[in-house]
Subunit: 97 residues, 2 copies
């Protein structure tokens, strides 16, 4: 099963929120900890998971680390899931007939 790692990364509420926030605009760790209500180390840990899954990227800017989503990756995932679920539901419909 492809994209297992990515799917698992996205199965956590905080990380889902991070993706949602970063889809609006790039943000520093500090900003994210304020928007989503978590401690700074927790945020860094979740960001690490998302980064290792290739879902987000970092760019240092002075003392701050600006995170943004990896657009290509998200589009890849969307494409895969769309296809996968189409097949799934297609099989299901064949069962009935």
């Amino acid at each position: 099963m492809p994209y297992e790692h990515e799917l698992k990364s996205l199965s956590n509420p905080i990380r889902q929120s991070v993706i949602n926030e970063l889809a609006q605009r790039p943000m520093s760790v500090r900003e994210l900890t304020v928007k989503i209500d978590v401690s700074q180390p927790v945020m860094s840990q979740h960001l690490k998971v998302l980064k290792e899954a290739g879902l987000i990227e970092v760019r240092p800017e002075g003392t701050r680390n600006i995170y943004c989503v990896n657009k290509e990756k998200l589009e890849e995932i969307r494409a895969f899931w769309t296809a996968h679920w189409s097949n799934l539901l297609a099989s299901l419909n064949e069962q009935k007939e």
Copy 2:
């Protein structure tokens, strides 16, 4: 975030395989343990999780329990995800312009 419970259920490789198998046709626990290579108790435990998430259903047939996917539920989830990811990627595209 809606469908969190369902998404989490689907974030496990064995449970993903179960859904894939049951999308082909309804199956007994025994059949599933053979197709996917796990012990019977493990399979029962994973089936319980999927059932509690509303993704599958059971029907007793003699000594066997036949499991099948809940088609309506899967279609609900697909619809939600499609919409959610469309919004996500739409926001992303607005960032660039």
